[in-house]
Each structure stands twice: as structure tokens, then as C-alpha cells.
């Protein structure tokens, strides 16, 4: 479904991504692991169009989208939950969710999806009139995911959804991610919490200082000695 071929990304003189290639097939959860500064977020931002690669190309369902703008990519079925959640703090929960469906005009279907999001995250329904800035971290994460689902994505990018959340909430978020995937959305997940991510991922890639150094199925990587040492604490 999503194919990234040999992309290079620069920030000024810094070479952030070096010949990164990865594939996400339809129906999969693929996770991208790596330490801080390895280039995980940059990979997602390049795939969703917020950052343009210096070379290489990105294909979505076989179509080259390397030069396509971020908003066009949303229309094509990419939805990105950015690092740090990035909800619109001064707007209400409902307004945030409505913005998720910004490009859609099918009012009836939007309401259906709104109900779907509220069913999945009942707390958002309770707080729909509240401004998003007043939500707790976990609630904001749910809002960010709910907002991303409102565009009816074919593929969902999640950037560190567990960051800063209490362990119990982390469990919950991961089971929600699994559930979203089982209802037909392909997922590309960036995580620092490697053990949780590998448990739900079909396949995984490991990034180190801008290059992919390892890839395999979730269980393969869980067994890998290097991974255990570097990311799983033993």
C-alpha cells in the first residue's frame, strides 16, 4: 500500500534520512523503532508530506506521491497523528473532530463516523464541548487518534502514541490501535516503547541515525539479540 524508496532528507546540512526504504502492505501494522533522533518522526513527516525529501520517491497504492502536497495526501487516504498529539487546544473536542473530516462533504457519513469515534472513546463524547487544551494527556491522545480517523484513512500514521502516558493508558492505547487495524485500517506506528509495539506489529523496521539497520516480523525482532539489548532492556 505504502512504499518508500530510498528517500534522503536534509535539514540544512544535517542528513537526517539516508536511503530509507520501507513498505507497508494493506492490512498490516508496521512499526518503526529507534532511539531519539534516529529519524522516525522525520520518516512519518516525509511520508505525510510535511517534509519534502531531497531524493527518492514515495508510492501510495502504486501512485507516485513524492511531490503531492500534505492536504492532497489526506484526500488520498493518509492520516497522520503527529508526535505530541497536536490537538487544537483552543478549540472544542467536537471542533477538533470536525476538522478531522475537513475534506469530506458527506454530512450523514461524517455523523456516522463521529458516532463511531464516540463509541470508541466515550470520554470524548462527555467532553465534546470542552476545549481540547483542558484534556489530560491520555484524552488528548484519544482525541488525536479520533480526529485522524474522521478522515476515513486507508493508512494511519501514529507517532509515539504512548508518549507520556501512564502504563495502564499505554495498554489501552495499544489495544485501541490493534482494534483499529482489525477493522480494516493499515497502520504505520512509530514507537519508543519497543516491546509493546512489537507485540502488536506484523512487521518492524529499526532506524539508527537515519538508516534502516534491521527489519523483520514482529516476533523475529523480539527474539533478535541486538534488539533485546538496545531496546528491550536485556
Amino acid at each position: 500500500m505504502l512504499e518508500i524508496n530510498n528517500i534522503n532528507v536534509h535539514f540544512g546540512v544535517i542528513h537526517a534520512l539516508k536511503d530509507v526504504s520501507l513498505t507497508v502492505n494493506e492490512g498490516e501494522i508496521v512499526t518503526l523503532l529507534g532511539a531519539n533522533g534516529a529519524g522516525k518522526t522525520t520518516t512519518l513527516r516525509t511520508a505525510s508530506g510535511l517534509k519534502k525529501p531531497t531524493d527518492g520517491n514515495i508510492l501510495l497504492n502504486g501512485k507516485d506521491i513524492t511531490q503531492t502536497s500534505a492536504q492532497e495526501r489526506v484526500k488520498m487516504g493518509i492520516s497522520h497523528v503527529p508526535e505530541g498529539r497536536r490537538v487544537f487546544p483552543a478549540m472544542t473536542v467536537l471542533e477538533n473532530l470536525e476538522l478531522g473530516a475537513y475534506l469530506r462533504r458527506d454530512r450523514a457519513e461524517i455523523n456516522k463516523d463521529l458516532k463511531m469515534v464516540y463509541d470508541r472513546f466515550p470520554i470524548l463524547y462527555d467532553r465534546k464541548k470542552q476545549s481540547a487544551g483542558t484534556l489530560s494527556g491520555g484524552e488528548q491522545q484519544m482525541l488525536a487518534i479520533g480526529r485522524a480517523l474522521m478522515s476515513r484513512p486507508k493508512i494511519l500514521f501514529l507517532d509515539e502514541p504512548s508518549m507520556g502516558l501512564a502504563p495502564l493508558l499505554v495498554q489501552e492505547i495499544f489495544s485501541i490501535i490493534k482494534d483499529i487495524n482489525e477493522t480494516g485500517t493499515t497502520i504505520l506506528l512509530v514507537e519508543q516503547n519497543a516491546s509493546m509495539a512489537l507485540q502488536i506489529a506484523h512487521r518492524a523496521y529499526v532506524l539508527e541515525t537515519g538508516s534502516i539497520v534491521l527489519s523483520g516480523t514482529g516476533s523475529e525482532l523480539m527474539q533478535s539479540e541486538d534488539i533485546r539489548k538496545a531496546y528491550l532492556g536485556g
Partner: protein
């Protein structure tokens, strides 16, 4: 007492003008963090467009108002596209200097076409010339019209910003550009629309001032532009209701200083307010830092 009420009425009329201009400053700042110093000159152009509509084309007030707003909208969008859009990723100081350049360009460009002299708006007759006397107080129809027009425009603006799709996009872009793009919002279109709205309001302010004070000149936008900027900062720059409050406050303060003190000091007082607010509460009256929870 009657004099006090009279001053407040005058202050509200003047404040309406400042509020209309301040809205454009604040919206543009909110969305691209630029103090658009050319904004006062759009107001001046609004006054000239109104002038030509009413004299050369012999149009009435309302058609002239609409024409001034529409043409200013187009000019505002053109300025954004030509001068600011290419600098989207430039440093803020570069854009600020460009804004000053645009301001001078519009001022002296206008002078080239219409001359540097003062022009006088046509004498208002009929309904708009009416004055109402209450004891020693006088309320002119023009003042009522200024305030009424301002209230109508502000209401429309609020509806656009709060309720419409593009209004929500504006707020989203001003809060978080990247996240807005991820919603599928076209940031450039939204910025352009913001300039359009602000310029339309400035155009309206221009023609209202023309009708009220009669005389217009190509540099008339400089001082009201700066004062409206002070109003926007006073209310909390980037906050739409703040610009309205700031505009009215500055208008009332200015009229009071002229009325009870000396009109020589009215500008000094306005800028003293700017200095004071920057020392005491830099975020402005309505400004607060929204802290994000982690």
C-alpha cells in the same frame, strides 16, 4: 455629565474605526505572526475607492461601501500573494521589513496616481446628514451609521470565524500549521482568506472615516494604522474579541484626552498605553498563555 456622555459617544464612533482596522492586524498576526504594517494603507485605499465611487461614479453610500470592501479584499490578497507568500519560510524580520516596504509603496504609489493633496468627500445630504439633539448632546446620523456598520461587520466576522468551514480552518491554521495541514487544510488558501477578511474590514473603515471626517489624503493610513496596532496589542494580539475591545478603548481614551486634556497629547497617550501594556501585561487584556498538558 452630558459632556461625559457626549465624549463617550464620540469615542465609540472613533473606536469603531480603530476596531475595524485592528481586526485585520490581529487576524493576520494570529495566522502568520506578521505585523502587517501595510494594513493602514489598505484602509487609506478604502477611503479613496469610496471617494471615487461617490464622486466620479455618483454611487450612494452602501454601494460605495461594498465596492470599497471588495476592491480592498482583492488588493489585500494581491499584497499577500506578491509580497508575503514568497517569504513564507523566511525569517520574521525579513517579512516585517517587506511589510514596511509594501506600506511605503502603497502610500507613494497612491500619491503618484491621485496627488499628494487632500481630497474632500462630497457633502452628505438626506438621511445621513441628520443630527439628533438631546439637551446639549448631539448624535449625528453618521456616528450611528459608523457604529451600526461596525457592529454588523463584526457580527458577520464572528459568524464566519466561529461557524463556517473556512473560519474553522483559519483558527486551526493559527493554532498549529502542521496539524492543520494534516487535516487536509490548504494553509496558503486559508492565509489568503485571512488577508481578504482583514482588508475588507479596513476598506470599510476607510470609507466610514471619509464620510465622517470628510478629508482624505494618501498618508492618512499611517497614524490610524499605528493606533489600531496599539489597540490590537492592548486587547491581546491574535485574539479577535481583543481587537474589538482594544479598538473601542483606544478610541475612547483618545477622545477623552482631547476633550478633557489637550488634543496635543492624544497620540502620546495612545503610545504610552502601548508601552505600559508591554510592561504590565504583554499578552494584552484577553491574552493568556494556553499551556499544553504533557
Amino acid at each position: 455629565m452630558e459632556q461625559l456622555i457626549q465624549q463617550i459617544i464620540n469615542g465609540i464612533s472613533l473606536g469603531s474605526i480603530y476596531a475595524l482596522i485592528a481586526l485585520g492586524y490581529t487576524m493576520v498576526y494570529g495566522i502568520i505572526k506578521l505585523i502587517n504594517f501595510a494594513h493602514g494603507d489598505i484602509y487609506m485605499l478604502g477611503a479613496y475607492i469610496g471617494y471615487f465611487c461617490m464622486t466620479t461614479l455618483k454611487l450612494g453610500f452602501l454601494p460605495s461601501l461594498i465596492a470599497a470592501m471588495l476592491i480592498c479584499t482583492l488588493i489585500g490578497m494581491a499584497v499577500e500573494k506578491i509580497a508575503y507568500k514568497p517569504l513564507r519560510n523566511a525569517t520574521r524580520i525579513a517579512v516585517l521589513i517587506t511589510a514596511i516596504g509594501v506600506s511605503l509603496f502603497i502610500e507613494y504609489g497612491t500619491m503618484f496616481f491621485v496627488g499628494a493633496g487632500v481630497r474632500t468627500y462630497p457633502e452628505i445630504t438626506g438621511l445621513l446628514a441628520k443630527r439628533f439633539q438631546f439637551g446639549s448632546m448631539v448624535v449625528s446620523m453618521q456616528q450611528i451609521m459608523i457604529v451600526a456598520t461596525t457592529i454588523v461587520l463584526m457580527t458577520i466576522l464572528q459568524i464566519i470565524v466561529r461557524k463556517t468551514r473556512i473560519g474553522k480552518a483559519m483558527r486551526a491554521v493559527s493554532l498549529d500549521k502542521d496539524a492543520a495541514q494534516l487535516m487536509g487544510i490548504n494553509v496558503n488558501t486559508t492565509i489568503s482568506f485571512t488577508f481578504a477578511l482583514g482588508s475588507a474590514l479596513a476598506g470599510a473603515a476607510g470609507i466610514l472615516v471619509g464620510v465622517y471626517y470628510n478629508s482624505i489624503n494618501p498618508l492618512m493610513g499611517v497614524m490610524p494604522g499605528l493606533k489600531a496596532f496599539v489597540a490590537a496589542v492592548l486587547g491581546g494580539i491574535g485574539i479577535i474579541p481583543g481587537a474589538m475591545i482594544g479598538g473601542y478603548l483606544i478610541g475612547i481614551v483618545e477622545v477623552f484626552v482631547s476633550g478633557y486634556g489637550s488634543s496635543m497629547y492624544r497620540e502620546a497617550v495612545v503610545f504610552a498605553i502601548l508601552i505600559l501594556i508591554l510592561i504590565v501585561k504583554p499578552a494584552g487584556i484577553l491574552g493568556k498563555n494556553i499551556r499544553e498538558k504533557v
